[in-house]
Symmetry: C2
Subunit: 332 residues, 2 copies
């Protein structure tokens, strides 16, 4: 009989997560109780915020050694013990790094078919897509011809921010960490320019591409990238603080930019947490699926086969050597 | 014949401004040309932003060694060479540290009598009053029962922020640097509590007085005060960055708070420059003069007699040993 494969956090990693920080265990498959379903996981999403949970610094709660690793996943119902779900239904839930989860039906959402690949419900049609959509359109309020700068521009959130900004008639400059990523940002995702912050002098390049300043900075990184961007804000600019890739692997909390930059530009800086924007999800999925079908949105997935490869893929994600939305293909 | 006494910046002061950084000179009094008025200065305003101008770090421009020290002043017209101004008119202008300025009439604003002492037009009825009024009401949008924390709470801006917030039914906690200031903040200005950040442990005291977090932080200081406040923001709080007293005397730009605090609280942080809010000035003066007459607003002026004492008074202001709006009484 099939067993449930689970990957647990073994040690509270310091710095970059390594494969030895995780442990694979198997347990006998379980039957769902009333109000539960048993599923087989199809796709598991790996996201940077999980590193913050390991550090005990994420608002969605912590992961402790011995705990099942958390994560959003798409799975197919095998056995249902509730009339609202049937065998074969596709659901999305935070079922974590396991192959055959038992899920309380209140924690599972049926996937509505929009005619696009289901793995996208973990990326552009899911949490990262909603983050970009709400963060850009609701918090940053882009206007025609605004100059939008976005960090981690080839990532799950950043690539959507840049492309939605293009759809909204903005000029878009991406920041990414390899030439391969920059090529994709410019030549596939269609942003106007992309800066490789590891090989180019970021402040100079921002000045070159944004000679009148940055109207919107969408920050997925923090650290030096935030500092460089905030020094070149245009008057009445908006900054969305969304992610902190520069510090997720760190135990310390580095300082941020001097407040004088914000005063000088009269900027409005907003903290973004996607959970606040659930009310936009339906409209977001309608808009994004439409844009995908119109070929106005490109997306990139970094897919690894096999749940056992999740630790290695997570390590690559946190090193920034992934390319696109990081997904584990679990069962076929 | 009377001469015009002027105080010039002598050296670009490092650290705290000292009396020897300034130089008094006299020149023959001048006659106004067409479109000019000659005035006698009555009250000169000393404000922390002047220190930023000496450092070349203020948006209103720089003051260089040899330049007349800048500053807003109230003066009385002695000789007018324009039909719109008459001898005896009271005007406000940025005429600087001098006793008998020649002012272009486009740079002078006649003072409209609201039935309150004219020195207040440099304080609560002037630029600091408008800063507090616009910064709190327009940028921070206080709601009933909001918990408002304000730094430099006995200062020209902070004392108004706290008192307007009380009028708007908020709970108000001040931060100041001496027990004498704290006493005034609580017992005269009527704020609910005041923390002496030099003798008390600021983070602990903020927690004690704001157990559910800070809804609005109005920052006139930056530095450690901003850090302590931002760590205790309530969800969906607002931060107005208005002044940087902690760094005006410094040549360096210290770092600011980590962006994680803003993300966690979903705060909205706004940079405040009073020049953007000129459209509110008329309403601001009507409201504030009304509140003064209703005895709902108290104000404190730190008045020194004699233009020659301006350097010493400015030094005291920048050391924080002033108490209230710092004003020089020039001619009688």
């Amino acid at each position: 009989m099939t067993s449930n494969t689970k990957i647990l956090l073994k040690t509270r990693c310091t710095g970059l997560p390594q494969e030895y920080d995780f442990e694979e265990v198997k347990e006998a498959i379980k039957d769902p109780q009333d109000g539960q379903i048993r599923c087989e996981t199809l796709y598991l999403s790996l996201d940077p915020y999980l590193r913050g949970k390991i550090n005990g610094r994420h608002i969605s709660g912590s992961i402790f050694p011995g705990d099942l690793m958390a994560g959003e996943a798409i799975s197919r119902v095998q056995v249902s013990n509730d009339p609202k779900f049937n065998e074969g239904d596709l659901v999305i839930s935070h079922s974590g790094w396991q192959s055959h989860p038992i899920i309380n039906i209140c924690d599972a959402t049926k996937i509505i078919d929009h005619g696009i690949p289901i793995s996208t419900y973990l990326g552009i049609m899911g949490m990262p897509g909603l983050t970009a959509y709400a963060g850009l359109l609701r918090l940053a309020e882009p206007k025609d011809n605004d100059v939008v700068l976005v960090s981690a521009a080839s990532g799950a959130v950043g690539s959507m921010v840049g492309q939605i900004a293009k759809i909204k008639n903005c000029q878009v400059i991406g920041i990414a960490g390899t030439n391969e990523k920059c090529d994709w940002v410019k030549n596939v995702a269609g942003m106007d320019n992309c800066i490789n912050y590891k090989t180019e002098i970021l402040p100079e390049k921002i000045k070159e591409f944004c000679p009148n300043g940055v109207d919107i900075y969408f920050d997925n990184v923090g650290g030096e990238l935030l500092q460089a961007a905030i020094e070149q804000l245009a008057l009445y600019s908006r900054v969305v603080l969304c992610g902190l890739m520069a510090q997720y692997n760190s135990d310390s909390m580095p300082a941020g930019p001097n407040p004088a930059w914000i005063i000088k530009s009269r900027a409005i800086v907003k903290g973004m947490v996607v959970y606040d924007h659930e009310d936009l999800r339906k409209q977001c999925m309608l808009d994004i699926s439409k844009w995908i079908k119109e070929d106005r949105i490109q997306y990139l997935e970094d897919v690894t086969e096999g749940l056992g490869k999740a630790p290695e893929a997570f390590s690559r994600l946190m090193r920034g050597t992934n390319h696109g939305k990081t997904i584990i293909k679990v069962n076929n």
